[in-house]
Subunit: 336 residues, 2 copies
């Protein structure tokens, strides 16, 4: 079922521009009053390097009708309050039909396919990659949204929802006793993935982190048996150090870095027959494909899927079960 | 073991420029007299659209010391004659040590990491994406090369080696009775993958092809039970037609197209829990990752790895076992 707002034969993500005129709202749409954007990490870092983040977001949303970074191709998600639940959503079987007016929700589909209008930006939070703003957005019948939990600060839940696909995927992919490598182990998704790998019974977890403060957070979490302080772009050095720390090549490598050029470190560190999970949006498809070919490594390389069944609930459960992880998230992401 | 030519701490593929001065040759290197390049399909198509292919190749190799397309990030492979086998290759355990001077070989590592000098381009073959030229190249100890088979024309074997990773991967991934979708089923890798899926026992194979001549080749091969003539970029239309033709969503989708924007067709056509194998170098990592998230599809998306154990031999075996496939390859790629 396509929304009445759908851009013809294309899908909303592939479309250059979405219709963000919400004067007309269709019955198969959920209208949200937007309060906060949580920008994808790769996108935020790129915009920071390019200049004024707020100006770039306003320009992107003005010209494209969505926050779809044209350099990184990535988006993020948003927090808002339900303004109107389309009357056709229930008969379409949409999960959004369960929501009610004034519910506070986070969107669980990417901003790259969410029609958005921003009226003003109140503040940009470079530490959390979040943007407080006023505006409106629409979710389609096929979209998903999670009600904000009562037991966690909203900015913390929003930060976790943004990478909700990561930890549940790692849980599924980690075999008992496995050697697991986490590149970018001190970042948001890196911490979640490290904790997920530990709970799934990994035998040895080694983390790589280039930022000292982030490495300190990973140490405090304690999921990684060893943490290598290095830039994942130094492929040979990082792989050598990580393999030494683990006592052998890795069964599973997870890339959670938010800068380019970490593909090769993961490939060199993973055993033949092993799996690499590229969750980072900075991953280059060709660098991964040709890199593995170039060193003749028989690894299964997986594109991180932002979705997994019940990913939002599972990620909140992980935060509730891991008290240190929850503390770190609250310190890092709580705004009020 | 790094070659003496290695670009410091970086790997040859990540380096912007490689040293292609072959006046000094190191003992851990294999020197080749280059006769023919087989350009990656995505790269060739991009250069064709941009203008004079020969001029662009000469410029890229002159400035980068390798045929590494800066737009697509991809390369290809080459055919040449062994000029010198480095004396240290044997003690390094390199597979290249088994070669002898004057052996005709195809490189099985990407041109994106192969130091190359081109003295002149004799001709460009737009049909086969091959370039007849004179020059030299070096393979490192970690590289791989296949001796040209005696029973197949060289240009045919070279064409097959260029995508040697594809069919063996599909063989491993196809479960008996599975529904398999091949996007770009009439191209070089598409034909190989279709044949591999049939031999692996797929229950129903549906191909998608936008080019009528290529579709005719796929029909002649007969591996696909049905062929949908459409542009894979039309995601909704292609997925709908393919699912109808297969009688249900696909267990495995393989993308072999050589143009952008086929990510979403594969995602929409694949069942929850299914697998997508992106062999196409035109694949965008973010379009795949955010596309699956956007429609909440729980699919495993795999980055096509150009390498698989014994991939060159297995691909030649497939050509030998499938007489119609071999005929099509000879008609399409034989030059002499």
């Amino acid at each position: 079922m396509e929304s009445s707002r759908g851009p013809g034969g294309t899908l909303p993500q592939a479309a250059w521009r979405l219709n963000n005129d919400f004067d007309s709202i269709y019955d198969d749409e959920l209208l949200l009053e937007v309060e906060r954007l949580n920008i994808d990490s790769a996108s935020f870092v790129q915009m920071e390097q390019a200049g004024d983040v707020a100006a770039q977001i306003l320009e992107t949303v003005r010209t494209r009708g969505k926050q779809h970074n044209r350099v990184t191709g990535s988006g993020g998600m948003l927090l808002g309050r339900v303004a109107r639940v389309g009357t056709a959503l229930a008969e379409l079987g949409s999960p959004l039909a369960a929501l009610q007016k004034n519910d506070r929700v986070a969107s669980l589909v990417s901003l790259t396919l969410t029609p958005l209008r921003i009226d003003r930006i109140v503040s940009v939070d470079p530490k959390r990659h979040q943007v407080v703003c006023a505006g409106q957005a629409v979710l389609f019948a096929s979209g998903m949204a999670a009600k904000m939990p009562a037991d966690l600060p909203e900015s913390v839940a929003l930060a976790a929802f943004d990478v909700a696909g990561a930890a549940p995927q790692v849980t599924r992919m980690t075999q008992k006793g496995a050697r697991v490598l986490i590149l970018g182990c001190g970042g948001k998704s890196g911490l979640l993935c490290s904790a997920a790998a530990r709970r799934a019974g990994a035998g040895r977890i080694v983390g790589v982190e280039r930022d000292e403060a982030s490495a300190a957070a990973a140490r405090r979490l304690g999921a990684c048996g060893e943490i290598v302080l290095a830039d994942a772009a130094d492929a040979v050095a990082v792989a050598t150090a990580a393999i030494k720390a683990a006592g052998g090549e890795f069964d599973l490598a997870v890339s959670c870095v938010n800068v380019p050029d970490a593909e090769m470190a993961a490939i060199l560190a993973t055993r033949d027959g092993g799996t690499i999970y590229y969750f980072s949006m900075s991953t280059s498809f060709t660098k991964a494909a040709l890199g593995a070919e170039g060193v003749s490594r028989d690894v299964t390389m997986i594109v991180g899927n932002g979705y997994a069944p019940s990913h939002a609930e599972k990620t909140l459960e992980l935060l509730r079960a891991e008290s240190v992880l929850q503390e770190i998230f609250i310190e890092r992401f709580k705004t009020e």
